[in-house]
């Protein structure tokens, strides 16, 4: 080891020690990829952070830095939090994966939690939500509610997370309505409300009367409301300001229970590296209030489906299922394994169009 790095390590150790003496509060850091005012992804993570503060009161101190670009900037922000004595750091974007691992190596005593990634270490956990479980419920409602039999779907980028959602929604829409078709539009952006509005409008003009979105803004909701006779689902947050119509339900990311549990684990000294992929059951994915625009009977069905998924009795990807090209994927009664789901890069049978590569 070179002299300079020895020096750095020593200094870091001192920094850590002084940090630890100065406070007996548990310090929890959050690194956000967007502004806390994005009304979607980061907004929900920050609600989780506030829940941690509310739950533990004086026993915790939370810090956050928003709009941190993925890459070296993220690495610096994490290092800075660790230097300043954070005990637990949540890094809330897929692109923070390698920076998280890098920083975790330098600070073996600090615990890291990386959202939506797959690389773990002794002091790095990963966590993610099974949004596709919520998509199954949406698909069911969409398949029953559509009159034109065309469901529009706004995707961000063609990544496994989004493709999984499309498949899950499609399978359950087809199950209740064999004539339903999906029209999928890729916006190629995470965030551009104007473009999302355009995409929704286009889908509606081409006959879709249900719009599912995998982008975070309420722009598609407003477009649907303007068009009339179109239903939508809230994404990431509840978007209840558009209820009862067009928004008939929603998928909500609820990180609070997980954040509270992990913070508690650090306090107790019981924290261990884990790979958490939670769905409706543990409450990480919530189904927002199903509005009265949905017939009572259908609402009951949707809730029953939700309960079946929550209890583990039913898995949204249960065979028989074929891939788009007709080749067999899951046999009768077989359930998809998490590895395939995590890296899903194919459509299931019945969806038209190709995944852009």
């Amino acid at each position: 080891m070179k002299f300079t790095s020895l020096l750095a390590t020593a200094a870091m150790a001192i920094g850590l020690a002084t940090g630890a003496v100065a406070q007996d509060k548990t310090k929890v850091g959050f690194v956000y990829v967007g502004p806390v005012g994005d009304g979607g992804w980061t907004y929900e993570h920050d609600k989780g952070r506030q829940a941690v503060e509310a739950h533990f009161g004086d026993k915790v101190e939370t810090v956050f830095v928003e709009s941190v670009p993925e890459g070296p900037d993220a690495e610096r922000v994490m290092t800075q939090m660790a230097l300043e004595g954070a005990d637990l750091i949540f890094t809330t974007s897929f692109g923070y994966m390698d920076p998280t691992i890098n920083v975790a190596k330098k600070f073996p005593d600090v615990k890291f939690e990386h959202a939506t990634g797959y690389k773990t270490a002794d002091n790095v956990s990963v966590y993610s939500a099974r949004f596709y479980e919520g998509r199954a419920v949406q698909g069911h409602i969409a398949g029953k509610m559509t009159k034109s039999n065309i469901v529009g779907y706004i995707g961000s980028y063609p990544i496994p997370e989004v493709i999984r959602g499309i498949n899950s929604a499609f399978i359950h829409a087809r199950k209740v309505n064999p004539d339903v078709e999906f029209k999928i539009v890729w916006a190629y952006t995470w965030f551009d409300p104007a473009k999302e509005a355009d995409a929704a409008t286009v889908l509606i003009e081409q006959g879709a009367d249900v719009i599912l979105q995998h982008t975070d803004s309420t722009a598609p909701q407003a477009a649907a409301q303007k068009a009339g006779n179109v239903i939508t689902f809230g994404q990431a947050s509840d978007m209840s300001e558009y209820a009862p119509l067009p928004r008939v339900s929603s998928i909500i990311d609820n990180w609070a229970p997980y954040y509270i549990a992990r913070t508690q684990a650090v306090m107790d000294g019981s924290w261990e590296s884990a790979n958490t992929w939670d769905g409706i059951g543990p409450g990480m994915v919530e189904i927002g209030e199903i509005s009265d625009a949905v017939p009572a009977e259908l609402k009951a069905e949707a809730l029953a489906l939700k309960d079946a998924i929550a209890s583990g009795e039913y898995h949204p990807f249960t065979g028989p299922l074929n891939k788009q090209d007709g080749s067999a994927w899951l046999a009768e009664g077989e359930v998809a394994d998490d590895g395939t789901l995590a890296g899903m890069n194919f459509y299931v049978e019945g969806i038209e169009g190709e995944i852009p590569q």
Binding site: P35, T189, A194, K195, Q206, A219, Q357
Partner: protein, 306 residues
């Protein structure tokens, strides 16, 4: 793939909506550049307009007041640009970029308490009988008032520049500020007014996004429209009607691209998404043969040295 699913009438109607924020911002910037000033801060002024308009219309319940506030907000931010470039004689390119940075930050600060709120909506023009006509109904008579304002503004700018003395003076200042000064025109004062007008227009464009097109408030929601508006002015070679054409082309390419996707045309999406920019470059090359050029004093600092 089924191209018959694309309804050309609806497509035209929705591309007009998509083009309006661009049009508003670009027509303002056109006036600014005609006066010989290059303000690269359009994105910043738009986003400040977006939040000013949003906040005021939520507080007062009136989208009209919101648009007034948006124009005022955009103009106020452009006042900073006036101070920098007309009073302190700072470099316009750098000042404009700084304005954008500042505007993005300022709007986010102002908008902290407006996330997740739905603004009051503006009624669409609805003339019984006429708005329901086939084809021309949805295209010509089924929009919100601001969309018409954008077109009216284009016509007004065109007429003023072409037929009035004020327009002549503005162009003279942009072509040769020293000569205009020698003739006794108040170069700085005229430019200040042009910049404020540009700021107000950009503010309106921003508010169109936050109040009508989307409508919601989110940080950074203009997502680069201001830059495209800047490009549009050059694209249009500083001619108002070409700005309108360009705005429709730009809005149109995006809408058509999404339409093709929804109709299941198997073209790689990323290449479709880059097509508006490539087409702009192509059109630009074709237009380069045109002899109409930029205002000669564009971006140059003016100081009256008697």
């Amino acid at each position: 793939m089924d191209l018959t699913e694309i309804n050309p009438v609806l497509l035209v109607a929705s591309l007009m909506v998509a083009a309006t924020p661009l049009l508003l911002a670009a027509i303002g910037e056109l006036v600014v550049e005609k006066s010989g000033v290059l303000n690269l801060g359009v994105e910043g002024m738009m986003i400040v307009g977006a939040i000013s308009g949003f906040a005021v219309s939520v507080e007062t319940g009136s989208p009209w007041l919101g648009f007034v506030a948006a124009a005022v907000g955009g103009a106020l931010l452009s006042l900073l640009f006036v101070v920098l470039t007309q009073v302190a004689l700072a470099n316009q390119v750098a000042s404009g970029l700084a304005l954008t940075l500042f505007g993005l930050g300022l709007s986010a600060l102002l908008g902290q308490s407006y996330v997740g709120i739905k603004p009051p909506s503006m009624a669409e023009l609805n003339i019984p009988g006429i708005s329901d006509l086939p084809v021309i109904g949805p295209i010509l008579f089924g929009h919100d008032p601001i969309l018409y304002l954008g077109i009216a503004l284009t016509a007004a700018v065109w007429a003023v520049l072409k037929f009035t003395r004020a327009g002549l003076i503005l162009r003279a200042v942009g072509e040769n500020h020293d000569a205009a000064h020698a003739l006794g025109y108040k170069v700085v004062r005229i430019r200040c007014l042009a910049i404020l007008f540009g700021g107000a227009c950009a503010g309106l464009g921003g508010a169109y996004i936050s109040l009508i097109r989307v409508p919601q408030w989110t940080e950074g929601m203009t997502a680069g429209v201001g830059w495209i508006a800047l490009a549009l002015v050059v694209f249009a070679s500083w001619k108002p009607w070409r700005v309108l054409l360009g705005a429709y082309l730009f809005g149109g390419v995006t809408v058509v691209q999404l339409n093709l996707q929804a109709a299941g045309v198997a073209i790689p999406v990323e290449y479709l998404a880059m097509s508006p920019y490539l087409i702009t470059i192509l059109v630009l090359v074709i237009l380069s043969a045109d002899k109409s050029r930029a205002p000669a004093s564009l971006g140059r600092i003016f100081h009256a040295s008697h």
